[in-house]
Amino acid sequence: MNDMERRKIEDSFQEAFKNAEVNPSESVWTNIELDLERADGDKMKRRLLFFKTLAAASVIFAMSIAGIGYYVFQLDADKNLAQHEVNSPAFSDRHASKEELDAQSSPNNESSFTPEETDPVAANSETKESPATANNSRLADEQLSRENGGLSSELNKGTDAVSTQSDLDASDKLQGDKKITGKSGTPLLASDENRGTTLPDVSDEVNGVERAVNSPSLDSKNSSPAATTGVGIASVGESSGRLPALYSAVQPELKLPASTADPGMLLLAKLAEDEKRFAAEEKNTRKNKMENLWTSIGFAAGAFNANSPSVAPAANTMYYLNSASTASTQSKASGLSYSVGVTVGTQVSKRWVLQGGVNYLTQNSDYTANSVVVVDNNFESPKAASINAFAPQLADATANTKVAQTFPYNVNNSVRFMSLPVQAGYLLVDKKFGLQLNAGVSTDLFLQNTITPDGGGVASTTQGRGDESPYRSLNFSGLMGTEFTYKLGYRYRLSVNPGLRYPFSSVYKSNTGVDSTPLTFDVGLRFRYIFH
C-alpha cells in the first residue's frame, strides 16, 4: 500500500470520526472520582504512616535509652557496692589484725585473749618508738590494774587517750581487754587510708567511749562499757556489713569533744568542715545545673486525619441531601496543621517537668462542595456553603438565605484555634541531650473558620465564634508526644517534639449532626531559654 492510498484512508476515517461524540454513563465520573479519592486517601495514609512510624520510633528510642540508662546505673551501683565491701575496715582490719596477731606470737589468740597476749599497743611500745609509746605502756599497766578493780581511773585516762590515732587503738585495746572486740578480737578501726571513710563513725565511738566512761554503772566484770561502746562498733562493723558511703546524702555530724586542743580532734574537725564545704559546693553545682524554669517559642507542622466522621440524617429530606453531602465532604476532609506558640516549663522534681503555654493553631483542608448559599435572592454573588448553612432555612421559612445546588467546586477550609496546652513530662534522659515523654490536655478555643472557593465565581465564607459557626467554641484535646532536646549552652536548648492531638469530643456542635474527632500528628521545633 502506497503512502497516498494510506493517507486517503486515514483522512476519510479521521473525517468520519472528526466530530464523533458518545455520552458516557454517569457512573464513569463517579468511578473516576472514587479512584482519585482513593489515591488522595493513600497519600494521606502514607503521610500518616510516616508520622505514626516517627512516633513509634521515638517511643521505642526513648524506652531503649531508658533501659540502657537504667542498666548502666545499676551496674555502677553494683560496682560501688562491691568496692565498699572490699574497702570495709571490718574486712581489712580482720586480716590486718590477724597478721598482726600472728606476728606477735601467742598461739591461742583466737577467741579469749589475755591483755598481755593480745595487746598490740603494748607490743608496739616494745618494738618501735612513737609518741604514744609512753601513753600506751601506761595504759598497759593500767589495764593490768583494771583487772583488780581500778577501772574508773583507767577509763578516764583511756578517754583522754582517744584523742590521737594511737590512742584510738588504745581505746580498742581497752575494749579488747573487756572481751568486747567481737568475733575478730581486733579493733575495728583501721590505720590505713580507708580509715578516712570511717572517721565520722570513729567520732561516734569516741563519744560512745566517753559516755561509757562517764557512766556511774561501769563495771569491768559485767562488761557494761562493752554494752555501750560496742553498739557503735557493732553497727558499723557487723550489723550492716559495710560502712556507709562518703557521698551519702546524710551528712554526719561531727561533735568536737571538750578537749579540742588535741591535734587529732583538730584534724577531725577540719575534715568535717571540708566535708560540709564539699557537700555545699556539690549542692550548689547541682542546683545551678538544674533547669528550674524555661520559656520557649516554637512552631509545629503536621497533618490531621478526619478519622471516619459520622454524619447523622436530618428530618428534612432535601435538607439532608444537601447538608449531608456538604457535611460529609467538609468533615471528611483531611489536611495540614500548623501552629506557633509560646511555652513555659518548670522542673518540679529530678525527673518530672510541667509545661504549658499558648498556641495559635491553623488546620487547612481542601474538599469539593456542591452547594452555595444565596443571600437575598442575589444569585449573582453566591457564597460558599458550610455545614450549618442549611440551618436557617429549616429554622425559619422567611430566612433571607437560600442554599442552591451547583456543579462541584473546590474549596479550602481554614479553621483557627487558640490552644492552651498543659503537659506533664517525664525526663528519660536529662543531660546535654535530653529525652522527655509528654502527655497532657489542651483547651482549644475556636476562633474562626474561612471557606475559600477556588476561582472567582463564589465568595468566601467566614464564620466566627458563636451561633453562626458549626464548630464548638470550647473543646478539649488530649496531647501525647516525645521531646528530643539538645543543650546549646548554659541558657539555651533546642527541642524537636513529635506529638499527637486527639479531641475528646467532636469538633462540631451536636446540632450539626456531624461527629468528627480529627487526629493530628505534628512535629514541632522549639527554642528554649532557661532561667537557672
Binding site: F13, V22, V28, I32, L36, P408, N410, D454, G455
Partner: protein, 185 residues
C-alpha cells in the same frame, strides 16, 4: 467557562472542580476513541475511566508541547492498548495470506461514525487494533510492530485482512443504502 490553561492549572493542583470540567469537555470524544479499541460500551467505559485517572495523575508532567486533546487521546490509546494487549496474549495474531484478499479502494463517505464504529468493533481483536493504529492514528507498521510486540509482516497482514473485512462490510452497507435509501439504525 474556564480556559484550557486554567483547567490544566486547576487539575495540576488537584482541584476536583477543574478535573470535572476537563472530564466534561473531553469525555464524549474520548469515549469514541475507546469504543474503537473495544468490543462493548462497558469495556470502553472501563478504558475511559482508567485513562482519565491516568490523565489527572500525569497532568502535572504535561508540558503543553502538544494540544491537550492530542495528549489525552494518546493516553486513551495507550490505555486501550494495555488492556487489549492482554487479549492479544490470549489470542495471538497470525499472518494472513494477503494475496487472496481483494484490494479495492475503501470509501467511507456518507457513512455515519456509529456504523463505522460498529464495523470496527466486529473486526477480530488483532485486526481491530492494527486497523485503528494504522488507518486512524497514523502509525507505521514498524511502530505498530514495536508497540504490540509483533513482526512488521504480521501487522501488514492483519491490516490487509482488516481492510478486506471493512470493505466487505462497507459494500454491504452501501448496497443496503442503495436498496433502501437510508442507512441502517
Amino acid at each position: 467557562m474556564l480556559s484550557e490553561n486554567e483547567l490544566i492549572e486547576g487539575c495540576r493542583k488537584g482541584n476536583r472542580a477543574s478535573q470535572k470540567a476537563l472530564y466534561d469537555q473531553y469525555c464524549r470524544k474520548m469515549l469514541v476513541v475507546c469504543l474503537r479499541y473495544s468490543k462493548t460500551t462497558a469495556e470502553a467505559e472501563d478504558i475511559l475511566q482508567e485513562g482519565f485517572v491516568k490523565v489527572f495523575n500525569a497532568i502535572k508532567d504535561f508540558r503543553q508541547e502538544s494540544k491537550l486533546e492530542t495528549w489525552i487521546t494518546r493516553i486513551m490509546v495507550n490505555t486501550a492498548l494495555n488492556v487489549q494487549r492482554r487479549k492479544l496474549y490470549l489470542y495471538p495474531m497470525v499472518d494472513v495470506e494477503e494475496l487472496n484478499l481483494p484490494d479495492t479502494e475503501m470509501s467511507v463517505s456518507g457513512i455515519h461514525f456509529s456504523q463505522l464504529l460498529e464495523m470496527i468493533q466486529t473486526l477480530p481483536h488483532g485486526c481491530q487494533i492494527v486497523f485503528n493504529l494504522f488507518a486512524i492514528e497514523g502509525f507505521s507498521h514498524k511502530e505498530i510492530a514495536e508497540r504490540l510486540g509483533i513482526s512488521e509482516g504480521t501487522s501488514k497482514s492483519q491490516f490487509a485482512r482488516a481492510k478486506s473485512l471493512m470493505q466487505a462490510k462497507l459494500l454491504k452497507e452501501s448496497t443496503y443504502y442503495e436498496r433502501y435509501g437510508e442507512a441502517k439504525n
